[in-house]
């Protein structure tokens, strides 16, 4: 009894902030594509930021609440409704039993998140709730959500008496998301160890030309299309570590940016790495959109991540305070 899938979406999975400590065994971290947004959804309902959420792609599943819940949506705007009435992202929403949550169009962004107060009651695998689709492990039975799945909630102490007979109630505060709300397509990168293999002209091209995100892009990686890049050597790269944001040069001269479900190691030249603070921005871009790379340095990358984290901490404090105040009054 909890959240039931009435109709399955194209790829909706349980994810958290990732599974760490097992990459030496070839087990990749996985986790949400957009860590920033998933944390915000959790904060809005008063969860730990590492709690599991549902990551949605469009078209997304249709959900039925079999028990009342406090939820929040974040990330992409998929034009959500409850029982046909539009609800906003980035607000906590009290939802009554038998309400139907659905998503109508991919208005903005590529991945949306649902957090539920208390979190989902699913088994933990190797320290994480994330679904590893390749290994068919973790998350909800190691797979994407299907019709008739029922995902339980952990014990939640949500006071829903305020809801009365209402079907749902949007609480009147919104998480400030402007940090990542910029409509820029600029992505900062750091040079990779094998970037020196590129010809001087190709090095310039990385920054001089925009790259199109092709439709061969998924949770494993985004394949980009631009003028092919050339190298000065064909010397083999012996397999070595790669990570979220690693930009590899494929044999045809095109680039792939590795995303959440990346392998742990790879043997293509690593020409660059997207800075951590821009992973979320990239994760919300869709096939057909353009990316422009800008060269950053280690210091900028670290400072941007710290600033992002400070913003999240402020937000978390504000969310905690608002929730306490609200439920005190009830």
């Amino acid at each position: 009894m909890s959240l039931k899938i009435f109709k399955a979406g194209i790829l909706d999975t349980i994810q958290d902030q990732g599974r760490y400590g097992h990459q030496h065994l070839g087990i990749n971290p996985g986790g949400v594509m957009d860590k920033f947004s998933a944390q915000i959804a959790n904060m809005l309902v008063g969860n730990d930021v590492k709690e599991a959420v549902i990551e949605l792609h469009f078209p997304a599943s249709v959900f039925i609440f079999q028990q009342p819940a406090l939820i929040a949506l974040s990330g992409a705007d998929f034009s959500a409704s409850i029982n046909g009435e539009k609800i906003p992202s980035l607000h906590p929403v009290l939802v009554n039993k038998n309400s139907v949550l659905q998503f109508h169009r991919a208005a903005k962004g590529a991945r949306a998140f649902i957090a539920v107060k208390g979190g989902f009651n699913i088994p933990i695998w190797l320290g994480s709730f994330s679904t590893n689709l390749k290994a068919a492990a973790g998350g909800f039975m190691g797979r994407a959500l299907r019709k008739d799945d029922e995902i339980g909630f952990k014990k939640s102490s949500t006071n829903i008496s305020y809801l009365g007979t209402k079907e749902f109630l949007v609480l009147p505060w919104k998480a400030d998301h402007k940090w990542e709300n910029s409509s820029t397509n600029e992505i900062f990168i750091l040079p990779g160890n094998e970037c020196c293999r590129l010809t001087d002209k190709s090095k310039e091209k990385i920054f001089g030309q925009p790259f199109t995100i092709t439709n061969q892009s998924d949770r494993m990686g985004f394949r980009l299309k631009g003028e092919p890049l050339l190298t000065t050597t064909n010397e083999e790269v012996i397999s070595s570590a790669v990570g979220f944001g690693t930009v590899q040069l494929l044999p045809d001269g095109q680039l792939i940016v590795l995303m959440a479900d990346h392998q742990t190691t790879g043997g293509y030249p690593r020409v660059a790495h997207v800075i951590s603070a821009h992973h979320s921005r990239l994760a919300q871009m869709k096939a057909g959109e353009m990316v422009r790379f800008r060269l950053a340095n280690q210091q900028m990358a670290e400072e941007l991540l710290i600033k992002q984290q400070q913003h999240l901490l402020q937000l978390q404090n504000a969310c905690t305070f608002k929730l306490q105040e609200f439920f005190k009054r009830v």
Partner: protein, 236 residues
Amino acid sequence: MNNPSIPYRIFPIGDSAITIDFGNTINESINKEVIARFNQLQEKPLPGLIEMIPAYSSLTIYYDILALKKKINNTTTVFEWTKEQLEEKLKMPVQENIIEERLVRIPVCYDGEFSPDIQELAAEKNISVDEVIEIHTSATYKVYMLGFLPGFAYMGEVDEKITIPRKPQPQNVLAGSVGIAGKQTGIYPLASPGGWQIIGRTPLKLFDTDREEPVLLKAGEFVQFFSISKDEFENF
């Protein structure tokens, strides 16, 4: 004792990981150094360490920027600070064989239906299929690293008489398939697209989510293959 004179380079992998690179090469003594350093840093971790990825000739360390930034002064980057810490650790000698070297014997059925590429390999190398099996099973292989898929062990080195380049285009490979790519041999723990030339299949589960330790082989261990019949495979 390890050879303290193996030269290395240290470089960042983006903003949250650091790699020690002992040379872009497949070499047993270099890989020994990688695994010894991996063990050293597991026993005495660097501050802020999240996890490590040992590979053929490199060791990559993921660290927690946010935790470390609080710890260090602001005049240096977390990367530079971690690099210095790492260089200190690398000055310390490490013992080989901190863990006992385990030998794992792995049954493989080289029967036709499990070995789609063995005929071509034999023809290419001008030997018989039986000789391919004989050569593949007579060596002891070292697990150099895991990567690509959960539990995928990169092993070497394969006798030159049966080395063959990987396929130009990846094909669908079934779980348990044993393959060769250049001097490397490996086993697909899961069904996956892959480019290795498939010469047999093992009934063992290299990766099993039901086990407490889901992965069968670890870097630094040794493997020997032995040939089993189709009957034995099916009743394994």
